[in-house]
Symmetry: C2
Subunit: 490 residues, 2 copies
């Protein structure tokens, strides 16, 4: 399977694109910028969804569903929001097709023009806050802690599978609160949920912090984010949690009667992660042999390949394997026993290696005699032959070890590629080479833009609990009180 | 909560609409024909999804995701399909908005017109078969057993929450097979899955059968369906499974090399159920006191209401309740202990009754002394005071009993409202009164249409394993070999 597969160092971008397709994760569709998520890729996304959904529910959130369509006029109501989103929207103008009498082809029916155009949601703050107006009268109706799993559309000009697609899948949380403090707390709670998920499930270490004014969400007071570092030294924004203040409550006139019996505007948050996480997952761990998956998100955690010459041998092996499989499954481990006779063992080894299955077992007739089995690890590409007795427990521990190892490796990579930089020359050099560059910045949007124009680097985040230190802006030399994190980004 | 709530016999339709809103299941949105599914309603849908998804996976299916958009030209490729669907589509014609310089409002940017319009999927056969062309070369690539959970849009003129909305949520399975026999088998397998889900989870008995030529899916060879009877005597099509023959393979040129090394067109099925099932669930069991839910799909299976005068009493009750709650949860039962002091017990009783919570417990200080607890059943509206000791097991059994009772009640209702009819006068009378009417039909589309024009009744299904008997068409008197099922329908 790994034939004609690019190497990371030769062409990282091509390596990524080939990996996505060859590992059966996704492919481009007939619709510009829209991908098809294939069953293997979707199975990983389902595992992500299940874990996140549980974390949301454990923190008191409920799911709901709001319309795909947003009336155009809703976008006029929040000034920053329209600036940020209206530029790249799919617009529904008609509701019927008809047969063209001359050509026989189907054409848009001009008689079926909508009075007001509908926008395919790029994000749902507007339609949701229009709805919340009806749900909220008193402080007793608060908080509202709602999430939705949905598809959204942003008409991006340059698309890449998972990382930036016209349509993508995501979850968007939209919460409503009595007080500013409570809303800020919610924003941070979700940031912690995202960071925990990225680190403990995806094995991807992330920086938690704030976005600058220029980089924040259109309509937010503050945008918090988690930022990860990919193997090519580029940053990837993996999730955002927005404190929206009373902006949307004011735009959609959502007030409540407080405990003190006074009308007040509601405080809001919104937060989301998307199928972009798939891109982060793929890029964080995978290598020149294909996909590498953390066990917690692998649809197949253990693949078992029998090595046999005839039916009789297969029958004897299967008897043993079925017991091991049942024992592993009883431990909650997902196992695939690949007893197909249409493919050779070597082909199967490559397949599971390329698809990132964390542990692969092989067992042949000699193993049966010796009471042994071969275990191969995808993360280290090492193999060992072990006693069959007690192999289930060994595998259980191994899966945990692999999960941990991937995280540690990614953490080490990030540490090796994070630089504290004080001169403009060094800044340029490090940004060019890739990595997180911690540098002083004078705090102005103007300088931020200049640095971006000169180096393509953006301020990825101002870390939470950032150490305060006096310094001089790396570009202007103006005074600064803290370093911020620069990088080129996806 | 049940104030101002219509009775079924006074106005069934109004009763339904009020129930959906007052039980917090859904509400109309600002977008014509699109609903907001509220958290409580969505929690029921999630339970449906989880059960169905498991059944699909247990029968070998995998999930995937295909684009929301379908290029207009794809609809031209399958002649029947375009006739059935193109009339009611949301059409995306532009991909950008801009500020109008004169008014300051945002308007559609005429410079951002798509070369080819995109249709919001009303169903995904076309985009999926365009994709399958790339996935299928050899018989080794078959079968493909894929499902997707998605939103679809059909621009219906008359909408009703859950039953018929412009946007709705559904699953659509799309499978590809080597042989006709295998595809037909798949179609029937899924019909059985749907029937099992409707009866065992929703508690709704269904007839399984074929649709007539006039009623079948646009593009299918055969459409199988499950049909349920609602409390107002109207039928509801609850799920369909289509044998598509080679129609889509031919339209999208999807061939495979067979075991005999010959190119052949692939055989197809598609099948779906939608949020319409929520409508069926609501209408099948609910009463003039509100929603009635089968325990297997109830987000809250047991609600516990403490009756207390002060903090001290509540503390003593809570201690006991928390143990019962933990024991119930250990049995996999979902419990809500409603210890709010902002609402009185009576208010809570009404709330859980209206929201269809299957079992409600009440416990006060006297119960603590006596070692008793009150159990109220939602389905029969009966109460009894029982020993607290062993109450968990009693509740576990009770939930099963309620599940069964709802199904039996619905089955009895259907039996009482199914008629075998041989004269046109009786036919008209029974159709007017409501119910399933089994009558002979001469097999022509013309007669089918005439009957519909005269009585609004349609042929809901030709049941599987339908007894063959000689008879005369109820309208024309022409010969017939079997009875078919007529009813007015949603």
């Amino acid at each position: 399977m790994a034939k004609n597969f690019s190497k990371r160092e030769d062409n990282y971008s091509q390596w990524y694109n080939e990996l996505v397709v060859k590992a059966d994760l996704a492919e481009n569709s007939a619709v510009r910028g829209c991908m098809v998520i294939k069953p293997y890729g979707y199975a990983i996304w389902e595992k992500m969804q299940a874990a996140l959904d549980k974390m949301f529910k454990d923190t008191g959130h409920q799911n709901a569903y709001f319309p795909l369509f947003i009336p155009k006029s809703f976008f006029n109501k929040e000034a920053d929001h329209v600036e940020g989103f209206a530029k790249e929207c799919a617009v529904v103008t008609h509701y019927r097709l008809k047969n063209d009498e001359e050509t026989g082809n189907i054409v848009v029916d001009d008689d079926a023009k909508l009075e007001e155009e509908l926008i395919i949601r790029p994000t749902s703050e507007t339609i949701i806050w229009d709805t919340y107006r009806k749900w909220i009268q008193s402080y007793r109706d608060l908080p509202i802690l709602v999430n939705q799993w949905a598809n959204v559309v942003r008409w991006e000009m340059r698309t890449r599978m998972f990382l930036r697609t016209a349509e993508f899948l995501w979850q968007e949380g939209h919460t409503a609160h009595e007080t500013k403090a409570e809303a800020v707390e919610e924003t941070k709670l979700i940031l912690d949920v995202y960071a925990k998920f990225a680190e403990e499930w995806m094995g991807v270490p992330v920086l938690k912090g704030l976005k600058t004014e220029s980089e924040k969400f259109a309509g937010a007071i503050d945008t918090y984010c988690i930022e990860a570092l990919m193997q090519d030294g580029k940053a990837l924004q993996a999730g955002t949690s927005h404190f929206l203040g009373q902006n949307f409550a004011k735009a959609f006139d959502v007030t409540f009667v407080s405990k003190e019996n006074k009308p007040e505007y509601v405080w809001a948050t919104s937060w989301g992660v998307s199928t972009r996480l798939m891109g982060a997952l793929i890029m964080a761990h995978s290598d020149d042999h294909g996909l590498v998956l953390p066990p917690k998100l692998a649809p197949i955690q253990v693949a078992i390949v029998p090595i046999f010459k005839n039916e009789e041998q297969l029958a004897a092996i299967s008897e043993k394997v079925n017991k091991i499989k049942a024992n592993l499954e009883a431990k909650g481990i997902s196992v695939k026993f690949d007893d197909r006779d249409t493919q050779k063992p070597g082909w199967k080894f490559s397949e599971y290696e390329f698809k990132g299955v964390p542990v692969r077992l092989a067992i042949g007739s000699r193993d049966l005699e010796n009471g042994t089995i071969e275990i191969a690890r995808r993360d280290t590409l090492t193999k060992e032959v072990v006693e069959m007795e007690g192999v289930e427990e060994k595998i259980e521990n191994l899966l945990e070890e692999i999960q941990e190892n991937l995280f540690t490796k990614a953490l080490d990579y990030r540490a090796e590629n994070t630089y504290s930089v004080d001169s403009w020359d060094e800044f340029k050099e490090k940004i060019k080479a890739g990595g997180f560059v911690m540098a002083h910045w004078d705090g102005t949007a103007e300088t931020e833009q200049k640095i971006k124009d000169l180096t393509k680097a953006t301020i990825r985040t101002i870390p939470l609990d950032n150490p305060q230190e006096e310094g001089k802006c790396v570009l202007t030399g103006n005074p600064s009180k803290e370093r911020v994190v620069f990088a080129k980004a996806y």
